[in-house]
């Protein structure tokens, strides 16, 4: 707790240009419950970060603070040079640049796959409909389901739905992608198709923050793995060192539980 001073000393003006996300001394409470404790995290452009940790450790809450689905109470979050405050304009500006993929896909069931993908560009970015549809088809091809464009989400398998969700986010042309356990709600045979899509996305140089327990994905794709427990970042390291030589007992315990059985 003593290092809060040094953390807050880094003023937003002094932020490093290639830092797309800066989280400085961030705290969050749910009522009296201190969920996030002094989070400090810098994400460079093009960096791919995997966040892991036991259930309830605050992983979701942390990445949801980045696009203001949750509000933090102390410290700073600066995304793409814009600080998150109560200013709705800035929140909207940040949300336009940050795509999010959810555990349960959260596709809009009353719209077709194509309409799911064009909704954001048309209403948020004021893209003409024809152009938005062309872009959407392009991304649907990239996630390998262009032929499902006119179906409704309820007619697709879980893996297909999640790939649509990824395409939907990409259609907004975001600078950062957040993933919150994108494969945990999927049947085992569908996990790979989604992970493959994410690996391809990583290869395009997208900045990614990904909460996942897919350690294979972390090893191949991540530049850095972050371990959280009890609302704190316990350990942060490049994947090789993280898996081969974890520093903290809690990390070791977690890794043994997740890789062990």
């Amino acid at each position: 707790m003593g290092d809060t001073n040094t953390a807050t000393a880094a003023a937003p003006s002094a932020n490093n240009d290639d830092h797309l996300i800066e989280i400085i001394g961030m705290h969050k409470w749910y009522g009296d419950f201190h969920v996030l404790k002094n989070i400090n995290l810098n994400v460079k452009k093009g960096e791919r970060i995997v966040i892991c940790g036991p259930s309830g450790s605050g992983k979701s809450t942390m990445i949801r603070c980045i696009n203001r689905l949750e509000e933090h109470q102390k410290g700073q979050i600066i995304v793409d040079g814009i600080e998150l405050t109560n200013d709705l304009k800035q929140i909207d500006a940040i949300r336009r640049e940050v795509g999010m993929v959810f555990q349960h896909f959260n596709l809009f069931p009353h719209l077709t796959v194509l309409e799911n993908c064009t909704l954001g560009p048309i209403w948020v970015r004021q893209t003409p409909k024809a152009e938005a549809e062309a872009t959407a088809m392009e991304y649907l091809s990239k996630v390998k389901i262009p032929e499902q464009a006119n179906k409704y989400p309820g007619q697709l398998s879980g893996g297909q739905q999640q790939r649509v969700a990824i395409a939907r986010s990409l259609c907004m042309n975001p600078r950062i992608m957040l993933f919150d356990e994108p494969t945990s709600a999927l049947d085992p045979e569908m996990i790979k198709e989604v992970l493959d899509t994410m690996i391809e996305l990583a290869e395009t140089g997208m900045t990614m923050l990904c909460v996942t327990h897919e350690m294979g994905f972390a090893k191949t794709v991540a530049d850095r793995v972050i371990f959280m427990d009890g609302g704190e970042v316990i350990e942060s390291n490049e994947p090789h060192a993280f898996f081969e030589n974890p520093q903290h007992d809690r990390t070791k315990l977690f890794l043994s539980q997740i890789l062990g059985h």
Partner: protein
């Protein structure tokens, strides 16, 4: 057991189900005679139909009288319903005391109403957009046609009556209470404390008071609050009260629908950068309203039937006109005929609404069954 046949795995053909497991026999057995209780019910049902249908048929059709000049003639000609009475009076049941030479305006308004409803009710019509614009300005056209002015003879709202009055109150109430109810439902879920508390107070107050009380308030007490000297049309007050009353119910029905929308839908909309009104209009309301259709139509049906309550504050709706017709010495005592006709009018209207709601649910369901 002679024809035990074997097939190589993967080559088994589809076969017909045994007799008694399909077709009309199956239907009869599962639906009418599946158990002794079911069989008993079926027999009781058949007996009741036998007791009810023939006398009804006699009264309504076979023994009824279509042409007569008064009740005595009717009774001499047949023992069934005296439809001659309704034939003599149907105009007043429809138009009330609307001036006879101006009644074409009511007819025209009604035709235009149907025309305005088509693009609202059905989305696959050609040229829907310009057509909807017409629907949007229809209320003004109807008000002009019915009230007069600008070249048409003026007709006071005190001359409105009969089914026409019920329709005016019902359609206006329905048209305005839906948007107001949606706003109230959203207001009740709002994060802004003032908006929220106003919505909650309004809804709870209106729902806690009988409609008749509100109508009495409309007819008497409002004068208290208005600046002296202002006149404020009684029908307009009734329209406002009926709209407010039904909007509170709509609000609760829609709130139920909103409650059913998963949090993830809001989050997906938010994370995309949609503004509040955009996410409501594009994501949340289409789903919430779809769930709410049965409740909304139920409220509308209730509202439409409640339009007869205006009788109590002295407006002569179809029920009022019908009762006054009963007082006629020539046709004394033909209450059944009048009330059956009025009931039929309401039944046709309400049943249509109910069928439409089922049609709409079916249509909206098609795309995205989960």
């Amino acid at each position: 057991m002679s024809e035990v046949q074997s097939y190589a795995p993967g080559t088994h053909p589809d076969m017909e189900a045994p007799v008694g497991q399909r077709g009309i026999m199956l239907w009869l057995r599962t639906n009418l005679f599946s158990s002794w209780a079911n069989t008993l019910m079926t027999l009781v049902g058949i007996y009741l139909l036998y007791k009810i249908i023939p006398p009804l048929l006699h009264w309504v059709v076979l023994d009824s009288v279509l042409n007569a000049n008064n009740r005595e003639e009717c009774q001499a000609l047949g023992t069934g319903a005296c439809w001659a009475f309704i034939k003599d009076r149907y105009k007043i049941l429809i138009y009330g005391f609307y001036p006879i030479e101006e009644r074409w305006r009511v007819n025209l308004s009604f035709v235009l109403l149907i025309f305005a409803l088509i693009p609202i009710l059905f989305d696959h019509v050609a040229m829907r957009k310009p057509w909807l614009i017409f629907s949007g300005i229809f209320p003004f056209i109807a008000a002009w046609l019915l009230l007069g002015g600008f070249g048409l003879a003026h007709v006071g709202t005190d001359e409105f009556g009969g089914m026409m009055l019920n329709t005016v109150v019902g359609v206006t109430g329905i048209a305005f209470s839906l948007p107001l109810g949606i706003l109230l439902a959203l207001g009740r879920k709002s994060h802004l404390p003032i908006v929220k508390s106003i919505s909650v107070c309004f809804i709870e107050f209106i729902r806690g008071v009988p409609l008749i009380t509100l109508l009495f308030v409309a007819s008497t007490m409002l004068n208290y609050f208005l600046p002296p000297g202002t006149t404020f049309d009684l029908l307009l007050r009734v329209l406002i009260m009926v709209t407010l009353f039904s909007s509170a119910y709509i609000a609760e029905v829609v709130r139920g629908g909103l409650q059913a929308i998963p949090k993830g839908q809001y989050e997906a909309a938010d994370s995309m950068g949609l503004k509040y009104w955009q996410s409501m209009r594009l994501i949340v309301l289409p789903q919430a309203l779809k769930i709410s259709i049965p409740g909304i139509v139920n409220t509308f049906i209730g509202l439409f039937k409640d339009t007869t309550l205006v009788l109590i504050i002295g407006l002569l709706d179809v029920l009022g006109v019908g009762r006054s017709a009963l007082a006629d010495a020539q046709w004394n005592g033909l209450a059944y005929e009048v009330y059956v006709s009025i009931a039929l009018f309401f039944f046709v209207c309400c049943f249509s609404m109910s069928r439409y709601s089922i049609y709409l649910e079916g249509k909206l369901d098609k795309g995205y069954k989960r």
